[in-house]
């Protein structure tokens, strides 16, 4: 019943990628870019931590998941002039976007950290011109900053929680590129006039070889402990600070780069790990790089049977290695052994019920879904699922509970949407 009893202690096999320096791989031979349609207005739901904080793992933009339909395909051009970057990329049809905020406010700032106050409009101009997308929820940073500058928030948080095993992209960025990340955070704080800023990280890592510092550049780094998933504990920690606003680590880094170097957001940091990878590390790649090139860059020492785009608990296994890394991809993992496909019958042991962080009954949802019983699915509140995956992880009969509960959740949400 208590939240610290839910979930499971996962072995966070994050080394060696956790402590290694990041590398850059900015010159792939092919880039695939996703399509953004400005005609769709996204809903204004933001990740705050007040009484209505739900803490979900789904993304608002389904087209940003790793099975997005591909539109643009770029090939590397030869360098036009001497001394330029060896490879540059040109759009075949460049999207024409109307800027809402003035891009001409991109001013030449010598040291943006040294000034006392930044105009909110300036930051919005930078964020829009650089087209920054927050990697935790897939929203454009402009939209998030607009909501923030409306007011009413007491604290700003940098979300560096990496709770899935093998994934360490956020915490590694925070530790090795801390000046950029925390510089971005402090710029937003100055623009919004909020003094309570901190970073959050998940510190329950058994095999970590480096110590996460408690403070960097006078900004505290608060630690979260506990079983996977940690969202309930994060909520309690954040609620102590009043209304908090959460940004992703890489969005802050890109905002800093946009202000200081006028760089457009076209790279992302992913973890490349797994037992088939020769040099597991965190890698900064251009958005649109294929998984194949990423794995070749880090070296494959064994033949993988599963390549996963995303985290080890919530990611998707891909069979086509030409799928691109997107803004919200956190990791590319390659495992040698396949998971046993043996599915036994449910023995009602109840472990999924004890471990579910939302108090659902995945075994009953599984049985009722297979019996096509929609009323039972509604009564069992399938819409409360946060898709963390602990039920499938712990099931001794190897049932595909997460898959079934996700589909049950879609059905129940449809019915509820129809009722309204």
């Amino acid at each position: 019943m208590a939240s610290w009893l839910c979930g499971e202690n996962l072995y966070q096999a994050k080394e060696p990628a956790f402590s290694r320096e990041q590398k850059e791989f900015l010159t792939p031979s092919v880039l695939y870019l996703p399509e953004y349609d400005e005609a769709d207005e996204p809903p204004a739901k933001v990740l705050t931590a007040d009484a209505s904080y739900q803490g979900s793992y789904e993304f608002e933009y389904p087209r940003l998941s790793c099975t997005t339909f591909l539109r643009y395909r770029l090939k590397a051009d030869k360098p036009k002039h001497e001394g330029e970057d060896a490879l540059s990329y040109s759009f075949t049809d460049a999207p024409k976007k109307k800027h809402k905020h003035e891009p001409s406010l991109l001013s030449n700032r010598q040291d943006p950290l040294a000034i006392d106050h930044i105009e909110p409009e300036e930051l919005l101009g930078f964020a829009e011109a650089a087209q920054i997308i927050d990697e935790t929820d897939g929203k454009p940073l402009t939209q998030k900053l607009e909501v923030l500058f409306e007011g009413g928030f007491n604290a700003l948080v940098c979300d560096a929680i990496d709770e899935q095993p093998y994934v360490s992209s956020n915490i590694n960025t925070l530790m090795h590129k801390s000046e950029e990340v925390l510089g971005g955070l402090s710029m937003i704080a100055k623009a919004a006039g909020i003094s309570n800023i901190f970073a959050l990280c998940y510190a329950d890592i058994d095999d970590a070889e480096t110590v996460i510092p408690h403070k960097m550049f006078t900004i505290p780094i608060k630690r979260v402990y506990g079983r996977y998933p940690v969202r309930d504990r994060v909520k309690k920690l954040l609620a102590k600070n009043g209304r908090c606003y959460v940004f992703g680590t890489q969005a802050l880094m890109h905002l800093y780069r946009a202000v200081t170097k006028k760089a457009v957001h076209n790279t992302t940091i992913i973890t490349v790990a797994g037992d088939c990878v020769g040099n597991p590390r965190n890698l900064e790649v251009r958005v649109g790089t294929t998984a194949r090139e990423v794995l070749e860059f880090c070296g494959l020492v064994k033949n993988p049977s599963r390549v996963i785009m995303g985290g080890s608990m919530r990611g998707a296994a891909i069979t086509d290695l030409d799928l691109p890394v997107l803004y919200t991809t956190r990791a590319v993992l390659a495992f040698e052994r396949p998971i046993e496909n043996v599915v036994l019958s449910c023995i009602s042991c109840g472990r999924c019920i004890v471990d579910c962080p939302r108090g659902l009954a995945p075994n009953y949802l599984y049985k009722q879904f297979n019996a096509h019983n929609l009323d039972a699915l509604i009564q069992l509140r399938a819409d409360r699922c946060i898709e963390c995956g602990v039920c499938s992880y712990i099931c001794p009969a190897n049932l595909e509970l997460l898959h079934v509960v996700k589909r049950a959740k879609t059905l129940v949400l449809e019915v509820k949407a129809q009722e309204e």
Binding site: M1, S3, E8, L10, D50, A51, S52, Q54, P165, A239, N303, P304, S305, R306, V307, I308, S312, M313, R314, G315, A316, A317, I318, T319, L321, L333, F335, P338, I339, L344, S345, C346, I347, S348, C349, G350, R351, I353, V354, G359, A361, N363, Y364, Q379, L380, R381, G389, S392, Y393, I394, C395, P396, A397, N398, E400, L402, H403
Partner: protein, 377 residues
Amino acid sequence: MNLQPAKAPHIRFKESVHTLFTDVIIALLPLYAMAFFYYGGRTLIMALIAAAVCYLLDILCRKMAGKVIKINDFSAVITGLLIPLMLPASVPYYVVVAACAFAILIAKHPFGGLGYNLFNPAAAGIAFATACWPKEVFRYPKPFEQIPLILNNPVELFSSPAAALKINGAPSGDLLQFFLGNSLGPMGATAILVILSCMFFLIYRRTISWHIPVSALAAAAVFSLLFPRVSISLLSSTVYELFAGTLVFGAAFVATDPVTSPSFPIAKIIYGAGIGLLTMLLRWFGGFEEGFIFALLMMNTLSFALDRLAIWLRFDLNSGRVPIRRVKAAAKGFMARREHKKIYIDTSAEPVTEPEQQQDEAQKEEATAQSKGGRNV
């Protein structure tokens, strides 16, 4: 490179159903060691016969039902190992075989097989044996008497402490000997110390959960504290009641069968309490000296209903887990208002309480607590 599609999550816990079953079998082996120590090799022959009969009948039933034959499915072997432990060591072999056959052929497979059976097969087999051969099932040999493998001459049999309690008499024997197993009773159910250790082992390995054994024993203990059957000291009477018969063994191994017991923790607690209560009532008013098996079969019918009750409690009553913060805020507001309503007798001229200000404060506290804490519906 042969990439396979897979569904999230991509790491799985290393335990499976097979490891669960092997854990239970490992936990039963010390009990067989104790039975061998007290009653000789006959106990092991009974175990082998029971396990073999159950396993072969299980395969036969699966074949008749057209299911896939899995060689490493040991659920029937567990049933086969549980049945002799609830019978006396001197019981003829045909009783064991009949109990196993009933368990597999009638209590398990007609209901759907593994995962779908309504009644616990081991319990059903023992109930069948009890109903058909009550004299063989309830007369026990003395420990440390070597019972021959084939019963050509009759063995001296005695009635158990449970029978003594039924007629309101105190059982003979030291409590310590009861605890260690040197008493009359079913061959696996007397060594209480070993049973409890094996139960703790299984709880530690998360094969079973603590809710059912603890609530069953607690309910039986409370009942026997309130209504003792013998007029010796209350604590001794309770301990005798708990140790005599198959209650401890059943609560640890038979009642915790995951398929037939409820899945929700609160439902498990009610289920265990029901088993304990019904056991004691059947011991008081039933025909036999030991009523655990029938109590278990009765509560098996209520497993799913208790799960429905738990679902109602969790989703319809509370809309989530217990909102502790809201409860605390409400309690705080309640206490604040109660403080306001108390009458202070003060001899000084000025009034001590300011009712309006305290009420405002209490309301403000409640409002802030509700806006900060509490869960969304």
